[in-house]
């Protein structure tokens, strides 16, 4: 520590002479004049010595210019993992669906499933789907993509079963076989499972390179990017997690989605949505996909050079009744099924969905009258003719009638729980308005409480919340994803609802080969649960994409079946 250099630096940096003005030619004083700068420079030089090697991708020097048009997409989503076995979230999924491929996929604003890496898929026996692969498939790194990779990918998902991963979607898969290099046979647990092809389009159905990914554990992002196991439309060219990632069209991809219209994509990550809004306004970002706040979207609408594309989304919001602990619930001292149903019906009569959509969500959300959102095949509006003014609006008179007829003493006390950190910042406004709507009838006294998400899930399944908020995003765009998840005996909601007739109908529609019959069964389930109201659907979420002028490829109005794919984007 007593080295001359250290001492000289220390003295100079903080000496009184460092602040003297006036000319001087003295060597020491000259250094002192730059003492503050030298401190910073010394730090930077020390850092320079601590360099780390990185694999270069030959990025052009800034200002050198590039003739290739690049579309920059901004997002507030965050990536958990690039390994399809280790992630099942929107941020990871956004990249995975672009750089990996599946055997089947959906296309062009429809929910129809069509072959992607597969050449064909066939139900070869009641419990077996046989898939034939397209010839000559390869990964971006040159490895051939064969049935061995397909078998490996599905076996791996089930073996790892990571809590962050999508393996639960493969609930019906018993085994996967690869009898020939281009043939895969999936053996299922249930016969005639018409939903399995849908599952093949999800993150659980991504095909990975068996030479790159370990069979029994999730691979880290750095190793994945280095190995280039891409079989989707794009390949990753550089990757700084949750900061900036760049992509280029993958020439190895031979699936149905074709060659991207724009070869180069940059994906920039934001934490603060207002920064993202500023960047799209100032032109640093061309496209925003997930997620700007509703006030931000509202303020951008109509701005010169910016287009806000909106439409129905497939996310829904609803109130769940815990049938055990709700007023007059089965485990309460005053248990009375008729009165419990009357309370649920009266709540359904009293909520004003239009007001919620307009006042809280500025019409970016739409009223929802069934658990299956509009736009999904088989969706009905079963609640509409049954409750309120029978046209979708609320009715205090109807609520009063049903409570009076059941002999329920009013006001009914409702302990309503919501979440502040999982369903967006507007939840507080949403539930304040619901409390207001219910209490303004004079029929209810609402105790509104909120719980953080980390405790919310545990407490709700432990019957701690008599009524509570939940939301749902589809894994795949099929009505079953909105029915079996809520109303089957083993439902995710787990609120004590069980109806053997509904269970039977769900099992039927899941294995129904006739599409028309299946739609009828789906509608019947919605009508049945609308009568017993284990949940009250409130709102259907919206999809919003913001683009700057010159960006094409996003439909003016989005439907719930719309899938955002970078390959559709163009830049003029």
């Amino acid at each position: 520590m007593n080295s001359p250099s250290t001492n000289t630096f220390s003295t100079d940096a903080f000496s009184a002479d460092a602040f003297s003005a006036g000319p001087n030619g003295h060597r020491t004083r000259g250094r002192r004049g730059l003492s503050v700068l030298s401190l910073g420079a010394a730090t930077l030089l020390a850092l320079t010595a601590c360099t780390s090697e990185r694999s270069g991708t030959g990025a052009a020097a800034p200002g050198s210019g590039s003739p290739t048009k690049t579309v920059t997409i901004g997002t507030t989503d965050q990536v958990v993992s690039l390994d399809p076995a280790g992630s099942w979230d929107a941020g990871s999924g956004a990249i995975e669906t672009e750089v990996y491929a599946t055997l089947l996929s959906t296309r062009d604003g429809t929910t129809d499933v069509t072959p992607d890496l597969a050449a064909s898929i066939e139900l070869t026996s009641p419990k077996q789907y046989t898939v034939t692969l397209k010839p000559g498939l390869t990964f971006a790194n040159g490895d051939p993509l064969t049935s061995a990779d397909v078998k490996f990918s599905f076996d791996r998902q089930l073996r790892i079963a990571d809590p962050n991963g999508p393996s639960p979607l493969l609930y019906d898969l018993a085994s996967t076989a690869a009898p020939t290099p281009d043939t895969v046979v999936f053996t299922l647990k249930a016969a005639n499972d018409s939903l399995f092809p849908q599952v093949l389009t999800t993150q659980a159905g991504i095909i990975v390179d068996h030479k790159v990914f370990p069979a029994d554990k999730v691979l880290d992002d750095t190793s994945i990017v280095a190995a280039k196991p891409w079989d989707g439309q794009y390949a990753v060219t550089s990757y700084a997690k949750n900061s900036l990632a760049t992509f280029t069209a993958n020439s190895a991809y031979k699936g149905q989605l074709g060659t991207p219209k724009t070869s180069n994509i940059q994906l920039k990550y934001y934490t603060d949505a207002s920064n993202l809004k500023l960047d799209v306004q100032q032109g640093a970002v061309d496209v925003v996909y997930r997620t700007l706040s509703i006030p931000d979207l509202e303020s951008l609408t109509g701005k010169n050079g910016i287009t806000v594309h909106t439409g129905s989304g497939n996310g829904i919001r609803f109130i769940v009744f815990d049938l055990k602990t709700q007023p007059y619930g089965s485990k309460t001292p005053q248990a009375d099924p008729a009165k419990a149903l009357a309370v649920r019906e009266a709540v359904a009569d009293s909520v004003d969905r239009e007001q919620l959509a307009q006042q809280v969500y500025k019409n970016t959300y739409q009223p929802l009258y069934s658990s299956v959102p509009q736009g999904i095949a088989g969706a009905t509006e079963s609640l509409k003719p049954l409750y309120g003014d029978k046209q979708g609006g609320p009715s205090t008179a109807a609520a009063a009638r049903v409570l009076s007829a059941a002999g329920v003493k009013t006001p009914v006390t409702l302990n309503l729980e919501y979440n502040t950190d999982h369903y967006g910042s507007s939840s507080t406004d949403e539930y304040a308005l619901i409390k207001n709507q219910l209490e303004s009838t004079g029929l209810f006294k609402v105790n509104l409480q909120s719980t953080l998400w980390s405790q919310y899930g545990t407490e709700r399944v432990a019957d701690q919340f008599p009524l509570y908020q939940l939301g749902w995003y589809a894994d795949y765009l099929d009505a079953d994803d909105y029915l079996s998840s809520f109303f089957a005996a083993s439902s995710w909601v787990s609120n004590g609802y069980q109806d053997p007739a509904v269970d039977k109908l769900i099992a039927q529609e899941e294995t129904e080969a006739d599409p028309a019959k299946r739609v009828a069964e789906i509608e019947e389930i919605q009508d049945k649960v609308a009568l017993t109201l284990p949940i009250i659907p409130l709102l259907q979420g919206s999809t919003a994409i913001v683009t700057r002028g010159g960006i094409g490829g996003v439909p003016a109005t989005l439907t719930s079946a719309y899938v955002f794919r970078w390959a559709d984007l163009t830049k003029s």
């Binding site: 009184a16 962050n164 550089s238 500023l278």
Partner: protein, 363 residues
């Protein structure tokens, strides 16, 4: 105490050590004691972090909420070692830190040390900018305030100082962004560099992660300019947090020094104004400032969390905010522990610096 010593104190420890007197041994003893004090300091800090993180439950349960079945949760807990007694976890944690192993993040299973290395450089860079801004603003304005003690400039500067450290850092950041990025359009509103420059710097054959250093090493003027333009607003935002403290400290110390005998003697010889301050009073007045600056490092790191989030500056503060949001307390624990180590080590370095400048400190 003699006038000679006061007017011209030994500039470095080297001459004192070279005399062969007790100064060298004093310095060595002082440094050893100070260095050894780092160990209990760090131990206490990381222990407090460890215990506070456990108050919120174990990191696995916090991160995964209700997404795991009891069996899956148990398997995760066993894998991460959180099912073991607290003491055993604590000892393992200390062993890990001693070997640079801060554990793995609960949500994405990344080594925390990798997170620290990846994002630490960005935070260090921001802290350097902030210190630079703080010194650049705080020291000269402190001298001006002392020079015009209790007069209008002093009152205005003191008010400004109070405002600068009393105003929430995110508010200052948003205000600066609104004025200079949105209204005037002079500076970028977020990020450490433009996308092209970021890609260019990160794809160099070897990088430090400190963009300014990497840009300088590349010899690309456009990249240097871009990096500096992006640094202005976050650097000022975080720098102002410390500049106010620095201003008041410099002012107070200078006022004290200006009333000492040797400064009075200089004044009686006709030295006055800023010359009196800069030539005779500044140095002794600035020595305590160095010590306080060390303590301000903790404030800088705390301020970095909000500044980095406000400006999308992808550093440790930004990551800390992210991991707090997803309740990944394993990652939070690692980052906060590193902050604790940085604060302890910085204070040691500041003590060393103060001892080298002012031999009286060693005794």
């Amino acid at each position: 105490m003699t006038t000679t010593v006061e007017l011209d104190p030994p500039p470095t420890a080297a001459p004192a050590a070279a005399t062969g007197g007790g100064g060298g041994h004093g310095l060595l003893r002082y440094l050893v004691v100070r260095f050894l004090l780092i160990i209990p300091t760090v131990l206490v800090l990381v222990s407090v972090v460890f215990l506070l993180m456990r108050v919120a439950g174990n990191p696995i349960t916090s991160a995964f909420g209700d997404r795991l079945t009891q069996a899956q949760l148990h398997a995760k807990l066993v894998q991460a070692g959180y099912e073991r007694p607290l003491l055993s976890q604590y000892l393992d944690y200390l062993r890990g830190i001693a070997t640079g192993n801060f554990g793995r993040t609960a949500t994405d299973d990344t080594p925390v040390s990798q997170v620290l290395l990846t994002y630490g450089a960005a935070t260090l860079e921001l802290a350097c900018y902030a210190l630079f801004v703080a010194v650049l603003i705080g020291v000269p304005l402190g001298m001006v305030a002392a020079r015009y003690r209790d007069r209008a400039p002093d009152v205005v500067l003191r008010l400004g100082a109070i405002l600068s450290y009393a105003t929430p850092v995110f508010f200052v950041g948003l205000l600066l962004k609104l004025v200079f990025a949105v209204w005037l359009g002079w500076l970028p509103d977020n990020g450490r560099a433009g996308i092209d420059v970021q890609l260019y710097l990160e794809n160099q054959s070897s990088t430090t992660g400190v963009y300014l250093v990497d840009a300088l090493r590349s010899g690309n003027g456009a990249a240097v300019e871009d990096v500096l333009r992006h640094a202005v607003l976050p650097g000022i935002t975080l720098g102002l947090l410390v500049a106010g403290v620095l201003l008041r400290l410099v002012r107070t110390n200078l006022i004290g020094t200006l009333s000492t005998d040797y400064v009075e003697a200089a004044r009686s010889r006709g030295v006055g104004g800023f010359r009196l301050i800069s030539r005779h009073a500044a140095r002794p007045a600035l020595i305590p400032v160095i010590t306080v600056m060390g303590l301000q490092i903790a404030g800088l790191l705390g301020g970095a969390v909000l500044t980095e989030t406000t400006f999308e500056w992808k550093g440790l503060g930004y990551e800390l905010a992210h991991y707090l949001t997803v309740r990944d307390y394993a990652a939070v624990q690692g980052i906060v522990a590193l902050f604790a180590v940085i604060v302890a080590v910085t204070n040691f370095l500041v003590d060393v610096l103060a001892a080298l400048i002012d031999p009286r400190v060693r005794y």
